[in-house]
Symmetry: C2
Subunit: 362 residues, 2 copies
């Protein structure tokens, strides 16, 4: 057994999650382009492709480069590329695989166009649309005008639109995933029709996250969904009702290093081991603590330092120094990013695998 803490991935659960989402997409007649941000592993991307995914999504160019080097040949960078240096890297990569890049501004698109021209390439581009999440994405009402300007640039092929808003409506977190997903799909299909009416050759209408993908996929005219988290699932998705805790394929294995008092113990994983971007107690999920403790579901991973997880216990709880505790993290994507390795478990067999696309920031 590896020394703790480490991230253990159950390949049977992962396989079932991959298969279920592939079936959902197939049943709705949409393409599935999983976001690889969750696993950051070329081998896992290949499992998704083998199950029917049409390609993968990444957020950063450096992630695309890792995935392409491992043999993945259809990649969408769902992120605006706006600097000459990265545009040149993208143009170069575009010469070796089918690459699609995101854009949400004229300034960024111009830089992409120029770099593609210098490289003798044509870059396939999708325009990112803000459907209420207020992150990147051109405001919905400005999309037609910007699409026309991008379409007019040389060396770019504007072939699609995409959006992300996760489990939110009008920029506010929601538990009404069906309404969120349907509205997301409808907004995007309506926009695609307006763009086509203006003569823009929009083929791809790409939407959807793990919580909303199954609903957005039902909207006629949506062509693609991009869920990421579903591959492992996590405590946040279980609380949203997207899966059960039993579907969560990734657990952090920790060791109790201290039980100084009946009412708490300390495990050897803190904020270097568990992501802190999904904080306990925040709306609408109101998660208790930073993870679900499989052995003691009533215990609460209440506080963390970098290397310490402080777990509030019932004083009767038998947790003692040396015990191993398995903890399902609140947010698996950002937790995976903290781990240099994952341990893939196929029944009794456990294989250590480097997370080769983790920590790729640029």
């Amino acid at each position: 057994m590896p020394d703790t803490p480490y991230l253990l991935i159950d390949l049977h659960k992962t396989g079932a999650n991959i298969e279920a989402m592939a079936q959902t997409a197939k049943a709705c007649g949409v393409k599935l382009r999983p976001h690889a941000k969750t696993h950051k592993l070329p081998s896992m991307a290949k499992r998704q492709l083998e199950a029917g995914a049409s390609g993968i999504t990444v957020a950063k160019l450096s992630e695309a480069e890792v995935m392409a080097a491992a043999g993945i040949d259809d990649i969408f960078i769902a992120y605006p590329i706006v600097t000459a240096s990265k545009a040149e890297r993208a143009a170069k990569l575009s010469g070796t695989i089918r690459l699609i890049v995101g854009a949400d501004s004229y300034e960024g698109s111009l830089i992409l166009s120029e770099a593609a021209g210098r490289a003798g390439q044509t870059l396939q581009v999708r325009l990112e649309i803000d459907t209420g999440f207020k992150r990147t994405g051109v405001p919905y009402e400005d999309a037609v005008a910007l699409a026309q300007r991008i379409h007019a640039l040389p060396h770019l092929n504007l072939t699609g639109i995409y959006t992300f808003r996760g489990a939110s409506i009008g920029g506010k977190p929601t538990l009404d995933l069906e309404r969120a997903g349907l509205e997301e799909g409808e907004l995007m299909v309506k926009l695609a029709e307006r763009l086509r009416a203006e003569g823009l050759p929009i083929v791809d209408v790409s939407v959807g996250s793990t919580p909303t993908g199954a609903f957005a996929a039902r909207v006629p005219g949506v062509t693609e969904i991009r869920p990421g988290t579903y591959v492992y699932q996590d405590r946040m998705q279980a609380k949203l009702g997207v899966c059960t805790l039993a579907d969560c394929a990734a657990v952090v294995v920790t060791t109790v290093v201290s039980r100084p008092s009946p009412d708490y113990c300390v495990v050897d994983g803190g904020s270097k081991t568990f992501a802190t971007d999904v904080q306990p107690g925040t709306e609408p999920l109101q998660l208790q603590g930073f993870g679900h403790i499989v052995e003691f579901p009533g215990a609460v991973l209440e506080r963390m330092s970098e290397e310490h997880g402080i777990i509030r216990l019932d004083p009767e709880c038998p947790a003692k120094v040396g015990d191993r505790l398995h903890i399902i993290p609140n947010h698996i994507c950002s937790t995976v990013n903290l781990h240099n390795y994952v341990y893939l478990a196929d029944g009794e067999r456990i294989e250590q695998v480097p997370v080769s696309a983790r920590g790729r920031l640029e």
Copy 2:
């Protein structure tokens, strides 16, 4: 210039920070054993040793192994080691450098003792004391009894006690750093005297963090301080009054990738780039946002996804797509852990260096 986002370290500021803490320790007649968790870089540890540090502190055995492999030969693992596998690794390492390990339970100490015996080593041990932070550490009132039991174990040399509580008093965050530091030192010196009165050969009384080290060092009988953050400093320390923002040696360089609206822009660093363990708005610091934006001090890094930092702007703010923004993170230690590389700047010269002890969890 590297592609963004990346972590830029100003070596002149770092040098001044290292020198200032070395002077503080020297003036108080205490040893300085910096916690390497902040930089996670052997070369930076060597700078601290050259400036007079007596050794270094780490939290995990794997960090000690990286530092020892790079030539650091006096390391304190300020963390309980409680499993046979790690105890064996520690005993092995102890054969090659001066190693001190933490302990806070009899069960853990017994495992250390047995592993040391099997390896033909004697392990130097310090007992961790809880002085109110309620993390690891034996409760203060139980320390004498536990120290006696550990002292009686073969193959262990119990030579010191240590504690951590940062800027807190009685388990509550405080801004009264002087009182926190003095009280921490006094509690520990008093305990050391009681232990010596019981015949225990306690030499080292190790305390102090970046916010409290300078105060704790003043207490007669304290022999060592273990600050970490001071090497780079950060926004949290500046808000505590330990340093100024100008002393902060580490900034994240980001690029504006989107300005969808006059009132916000988006940079290419989110929770994969900036630590989220020190959340905005929490007591007592009430930090606004996740970092200080050097170019626009009034702007607020308000929300983050993994790859997006959403910055609230004054509508008149000229930030535009392609601009580089330099951001001082709230918490530098956990931010460093997210970066595979840092870029060390010596005037105009910038060197990319792998953060070789980052992500070492076990």
